[in-house]
Amino acid sequence: MAIHKIILASFLVYLMIQFSHGATKERLFSDLEKDALDVTAKPSRQGVLDAGIDKLSITWKLSSTAKKQANFKTIKVKLCYAPVSQVDRPWRKTENELFKDKTCPHKIITRAYNKSSQSFKYTLDRDIPTGTYFVRTYAVDAKDHEVAFGQSTNEAKTTNLFSVQAISGRHKSLDIASVCFSVFSVLALLVFFVNEKRKAKLEQSK
């Protein structure tokens, strides 16, 4: 009874998929050690920064209150959205489960953990969107799991924020090409049409 075997096999596969959902316990942001690192992020100038041009001076060092530093292997520095830039944008939502959390999608730099103070001069990437940001550093262990973090703002994410204006992505050459092809399209149509009308008139007058 081949059909019975097929149905049983697919049912077993289905069950396996069901169970695989609940297999791993999700790692949570609230489990991480807070303020393990002191982080500062200083913009290169006042006002709204331009993506691709302006820089941030980022420094981080182990905080005096840190406890889990024995596990720190790597430090991941990331650019994160402030709450005002998350409004009406569910793709930037803050979630407690780390794998779902979309607060800090932009990587700045990754460095091996060093007890002494570290710094990095970061030029804002050209694909950073317009918004308000802060900097967060995650301390990651040997298994690539986050254990602690520090950020350049307070817990409510209201202080020391900076704004970035994205590049437009538009270029004069693109605009010109766009106009040229559009004009070509309309002209080609008109030329065909007028030509055909003329031929029909000639045919008729014969």
Partner: protein, 506 residues
């Protein structure tokens, strides 16, 4: 426009002045092919088929080209969720109006000009996407690009002039289904083009803009091909065609009245909103749904979204074919039953999709829903050519417009507010589909019957000839304007079911 002898409608471009009879395929009284040879490009019938579906597909590619790139575009243009949703509604709303107009254009100018004009005049709208800088521009351009979906009407109209009624379900279903596939193709094409451009060195926010040149060029290429290789009429000696009165000069007002005063038109407008309409809505929301609810990666969600649209490849022609099979045994009544069953089944699977809690059940439900909705589209347009002969273009246009209206409406009610989660929206959309498919039961043709009533036994009023010729008044009949309808009525005897004559004599 047309010949200077005063014939409006179809141009004589491409029509040979040789005697009729030299076609690659067997033809009927109106020179329409009676057989469908898929892999042929012979003129005029199969060449028209391929030109028609490819240009329609190109328009689907450009209308939905933004959807898979939204994750990049929303960051470049600083869009909110509402902006993205509104752009989705805008993309399907533009063609509500353009499909209506296209119906009239086909009746008056012919489908070849209709198609070419629309495809080439909408190329600038596609190119202008590379210049937008904010939400308002994005919504406006998506709205304008959406106008080109009216090529659906020219496509269906063109098929109806080239292929006979017995196979029109299959032909229309295949042409439209393969056209609709463009909505699936674009979900794979645009991300690939974008990635290639990025690898060549462009930044993200420039690469997506350049990517839009590809659908723009497709528009220009297809427009030129349609103009050079296409023809409106299958052929025939010009004088013979004029003498038989096939190409008639008709008045817009009369055609419109004929269309809107026929109650069946409005039932199909509603029905199509809940087969095609829900398909378009799902095209816009399904990738995001799978991404959010089942935590898939974006490209995985994109592949699922693409497969929803690509099912059109066989689903829509299958619907048309099923309708033709039902007609073979049960005539028009069979077609009506087939439509009701298929569309209701689609609605029930949509309900299931919203209720599915696991990824596997959701994918199964989605596939079955796509088959039901898309086959129903095919089955709808297997019947529409029989509603009227005189106003075929306008009725096709109105039905097509109904599809887009249904899409805008369902997106607005179920997927743009916080009142429903997306899964609740899908379930309620399924319920609405089932409810709005019930009016099929009201469609009655005196010569063929309806789902629950047999055909009329009146010897005069119960004939196909009476039905189609009564669209013309006495004055018009004096001028022999109705001869096309007489020929159509004779060919339409295929809808009598098992009682249909196997050979058609004149």
């Amino acid at each position: 426009m047309g010949d200077s002898t005063g014939d409006t409608g179809s141009s004589m471009h491409g029509v040979s002045t040789d005697k009729t009879g030299k076609y690659d395929l067997p033809v009927d009284l109106e020179d329409r092919a009676t057989v469908f040879k898929l892999f042929s490009f012979a003129k005029p019938h199969m060449r028209t088929f391929h030109l028609s579906w490819i240009s329609f597909s190109t328009c689907f590619v450009s209308t939905f080209a933004a959807a898979p790139l939204v994750p990049i575009i929303r960051e470049n243009l600083n869009l909110t969720k509402q902006d993205v949703g509104n752009a989705g509604v805008a993309s399907v709303s533009g063609s509500i109006f353009s499909r209506l107009v296209m119906g009239a254009v086909c009746d008056l100018l012919g489908p070849r000009y209709g198609c070419a004009f629309l495809v080439m005049l909408s190329a600038p709208t596609v190119f202008s996407m590379s210049c937008v800088s904010g939400a308002a521009g994005f919504i406006t351009v998506r709205f304008m690009i959406g106008f080109c979906l009216a090529t659906f009407v020219s496509c269906q109209y063109w098929m109806s002039t080239m292929f006979t009624s017995k196979i029109i379900g299959l032909v229309n279903g295949t042409a439209a289904g393969w056209g609709n596939m463009g909505g699936g193709i674009t979900q794979l094409l645009m991300p690939v083009v974008y990635e290639i451009i990025r690898r060549c060195g462009a930044t993200a926010f420039t690469a997506w803009r350049i990517a839009f040149f590809v659908p723009g060029w497709l528009h220009i290429i297809m427009g030129i091909l349609v103009l050079t290789l296409g023809q409106d009429l299958p052929g025939g000696n010009r004088k013979a065609v004029e003498k038989k009165g096939k190409v008639v000069q008709d008045k817009l007002g009369k055609i419109m009245w004929c269309a809107v005063s026929n109650y069946r038109t409005w039932i199909f407008v509603l029905l199509y909103g809940y087969s095609m309409g829900v398909e378009l809505s799902t095209d816009n929301v399904i990738a995001e749904y799978f991404f959010d609810r089942f935590h898939l990666k974006l490209h995985t969600a994109g592949i699922i979204a693409a497969s929803f649209g690509m099912a059109n490849f066989f689903a829509r022609p299958a619907g048309g074919y099923a309708s033709d099979i039902a007609a073979k045994y049960f005539g028009m009544r069979g077609r009506l039953w087939a439509l009701w069953i298929i569309q209701t089944a689609g609605g029930l699977f949509c309900v299931w999709l919203g209720l599915a809690n696991t990824l596997v059940t959701a994918i199964v439900a989605m596939i079955l829903f796509s088959l039901g909705a898309q086959a129903a589209c095919g089955a709808t347009f297997a019947i529409v050519p029989f509603v009227s002969r005189r106003s075929l273009g306008i009725i096709s246009g109105l039905t097509g417009a109904g599809g887009n209206f249904g899409s805008g409406l369902t997106q607005l009610i179920f997927f743009s507010t916080s009142q429903f989660t997306t899964e609740q929206g899908l379930t309620w959309m399924g319920v609405m589909i089932v409810a709005c498919t019930l009016p099929v039961m009201l469609i009655h043709f005196p010569q063929w019957g309806s789902m629950f009533r047999p055909p009329s036994t009146d010897p005069v009023k119960g004939t196909a000839e009476y039905y189609y010729v009564s669209e013309w008044n006495e004055e018009e009949k004096q001028k022999n304007m109705h001869q096309g309808s007489v020929a159509f009525a004779i060919n339409a005897k295929s809808e009598d079911g098992r009682n249909a004559p196997s050979t058609i004599t004149v």
